[in-house]
């Protein structure tokens, strides 16, 4: 256990250069873009020179790039930077919207797991049958369906025709805040009516966002399970007289390492897919916020969102690494 702790600390330390690197890249892009953010923030074409100068002073835009970078990052961490578009502290805006996106990603992740893993297993067990072919075609469709297309088709079916979903607003958060994710909080606090409302609002966008991931995961589960089941140790297990289900359990555990890698990466993919899904379904999440920020050259907000996404991504990969170590004794940490 002491080793695991050391490993965790070491991994956390590698976070720092990763995240600094990511923010630097985003900052460099923002800095080099041939646009004049000060003019945009001061009011666009009609902005007075005085206002522009004021904005430049406030956001240190006259300083060299490294001063600007340090001012921006420390300001974001201390939450002292006021968003030029919304006039709120940037991190307040982000903090308000992030739970919506995170909840959307959780719903999508649920569909990725609930569709991808069973389909992959069925496909592997019924290898080279009609079922396998069907699943593989489904996976191919899943991988290659654009989110916006699937989103509008399903809105047409469920909103326009069957009328069982709504597309306006988001149900309120429960009063007691524990995890900051409304659907989990309402479940923990036993507020089932609110839980139902959240599920009703999020299941379809979650499905749309998770559909592509489900296809990817189904393929990976199928291939890595087939690879595991053709191992020599599986034959030895059968020769030992181990019952079928137990043999499958060994194969499943052995196929888990590549599957978990993909699942970890999928979480990042879901976050980057969120802006389109949120736009299509009118969810006030961070993806939509990022899209608006890009449109208005709102660089502090863009850097803040990138920072957050990078953190989530890095944490997801850390969790994957911990799972590796738990599953596979050959992994040294």
């Amino acid at each position: 256990m002491a080793e695991l702790k050391k490993f965790l600390v070491r991994r956390m330390l590698t976070f720092i250069p990763t995240i600094i690197g990511i923010t630097l890249i985003v900052f460099a892009i923002a800095y080099l873009i041939p646009a004049d953010p000060a003019r945009a923030w001061a009011g666009g074409e009609k902005a007075s020179q005085k206002a522009i100068e004021l904005v430049k002073e406030r956001y240190h835009l006259n300083e060299p790039w490294y001063d600007q970078y340090i001012f921006l990052i420390t300001g974001l961490i201390k939450n002292e930077i006021i968003d030029p578009r919304t006039s709120n502290p940037v991190m307040d805006d982000v903090g308000k919207r992030f739970p919506v996106t995170f909840q959307l990603a959780l719903f999508a992740y649920f569909f990725v797991l609930a569709i991808g893993i069973p389909l992959g297993l069925i496909s592997a067990l019924k290898r080279d049958t009609a079922i396998d072919t069907f699943v593989r075609i489904f996976a191919l469709i899943g991988v290659s369906t654009p989110v916006f297309w699937l989103g509008y088709i399903l809105i047409y079916i469920f909103f326009v025709n069957i009328r069982i979903i709504n597309l306006a607003g988001v149900p309120p958060s429960p009063e007691i805040v524990i995890t900051h994710v409304p659907v989990i909080d309402s479940l923990i606090t036993g507020n089932f009516e609110l839980f139902r409302q959240h599920v009703a609002r999020f299941w379809l966008p979650g499905f749309v966002l998770g559909f592509m991931g489900a296809g990817v995961v189904a393929r990976f589960v199928r291939n890595s399970f087939l690879e595991a089941i053709s191992g020599d140790y599986i034959e030895f297990l059968k020769a030992k007289g181990v019952p079928k289900l137990r043999v499958y359990r060994h194969a499943m555990k052995n196929s888990l390492v590549p599957i978990i890698t993909v699942l970890g990466l999928q979480f990042g993919v879901l976050l980057s897919g969120a802006p389109i899904t949120e736009t299509v379904f009118g969810l006030p999440g961070i993806g939509l916020y990022a899209v608006f920020s890009i449109g208005t050259l709102d660089f502090p907000a863009i850097v803040a969102v990138t920072l957050l996404f990078a953190l989530v991504y890095v944490i997801a990969n850390l969790i994957v690494d911990i799972f590796y170590a738990v599953i596979d004794p050959r992994v040294r940490y």
């Binding site: 034959e235 030992k240 060994h250 599953i327 004794p329």
Partner: protein, 325 residues
């Protein structure tokens, strides 16, 4: 002579591949007597392993057991192993008929410690109540196969053991349920020569201690001379000669056996130089007509191309499948 514990009759296994039907073994018949070491000898791809695996239906798709019977005769019973349903053959595997495979590096599941894997073989045959209960017995089993420091080794994972140690563990798994027959499929091929000697000694020791019948599969004539009581020589999916071990080395009858023995140093005869058998092993998708050895045989006659030779007893307990003998 003691009783027949295993009778294999006309065993035929085909593999249905895209390239065509691979006739891996064709009409293979032999008997194994209780308490003996029976060796199946032949070069790579001649069907030794397929034969051994087919005995307990361990043939995976695209392979299929097309024909044949395998009678297993434990006390007073006569079971056709190829007719048993999945669940019944499972209780025979590992319990009555146990296996050791060629490559100990890949025979063990890398994700479980060796104690678990030994204990599991006890657990699935109902000898212990849980995997945890079996660990203590696993320590004793690992001690009998002379794994050093078994109390500590049970919690080691396969990658932490050497090849020889892993093969000791798989032998331990093999004998854990005190089987009647132990099928060792090239148990020493993947090991160093010094370790090979230790493992062969261990198999002999286990045989002495548990009185288990051993079916040894190998391509190594040295191992055959060291271990076997009787030998069956296989060529291209057929058995060509069956006899006692000294008889095979002293008076080989089939041209293939003769060629094979000229290709290796023979402890019973002085040989000036080693010879090779001309040609290569035939494709088993379109095997040669008649005797499968005829394209490479130095004594070929007309009948060899037309008629498949049957195993005939040319001397007492010495069977040969050849038209010219």
């Amino acid at each position: 002579m003691s009783k027949k514990i295993l009778e294999v009759k006309n065993l035929t296994v085909h593999f249905y591949t895209y390239a065509g039907i691979v006739k891996a073994i064709e009409e293979v018949s032999f008997d194994v007597f209780e308490g003996e070491t029976f060796a199946l000898v032949g070069e790579t791809g001649c069907g030794k392993s397929v034969t051994a695996r087919a005995i307990t239906q361990l043939i995976e798709s695209p392979g299929r057991i097309v024909r044949g019977e395998v009678y297993y005769n434990p006390d007073g019973e006569r079971l056709n192993l190829l007719e048993l349903p999945d669940e019944e053959i499972r209780t025979i595997r590992g319990n009555d008929i146990a296996y050791i495979f060629q490559d100990p590096q890949s025979s063990l599941d890398p994700l479980y410690n060796v104690g678990y894997q030994v204990s599991e073989s006890l657990f699935v045959h109902g000898r212990v109540k849980s995997i945890k209960d079996g660990i203590k017995k696993a320590v004793n089993i690992l001690r009998t196969v002379l794994l050093p420091d078994p109390e500590r080794r049970v919690s080691n994972y396969p990658h932490e053991l050497s090849g020889g140690m892993k093969q000791r563990v798989t032998i331990g798994i093999g004998i854990s349920n005190d089987p009647r027959i132990l099928i060792a499929d090239e148990p020493t091929t993947a090991l160093d020569v010094t370790v090979q000697a230790q493992i062969l000694w261990l198999i002999k020791e286990m045989k002495k201690r548990y009185g288990v019948t051993v079916i040894l599969i190998t391509h190594d004539m040295g191992v055959v001379a060291d271990m076997a009581d009787r030998v069956a020589v296989m060529y291209a999916g057929k058995i060509v000669e069956v006899a006692e071990v000294t008889e095979v080395f002293k008076n080989p009858v089939h041209p293939y056996t003769q060629g094979l023995l000229k290709a290796v140093p023979n402890p019973l005869k002085k040989i000036e130089r080693l010879e090779t058998i001309p040609g290569t092993v035939p494709s088993l998708i379109n095997p040669p007509s008649g005797c499968r050895f005829h394209p490479r045989c130095p004594e070929i006659s007309k009948v060899c191309k037309e008629k498949i030779p049957e195993l005939r007893e040319v001397k007492k307990n010495h069977f040969v499948a050849c038209h010219n003998r």
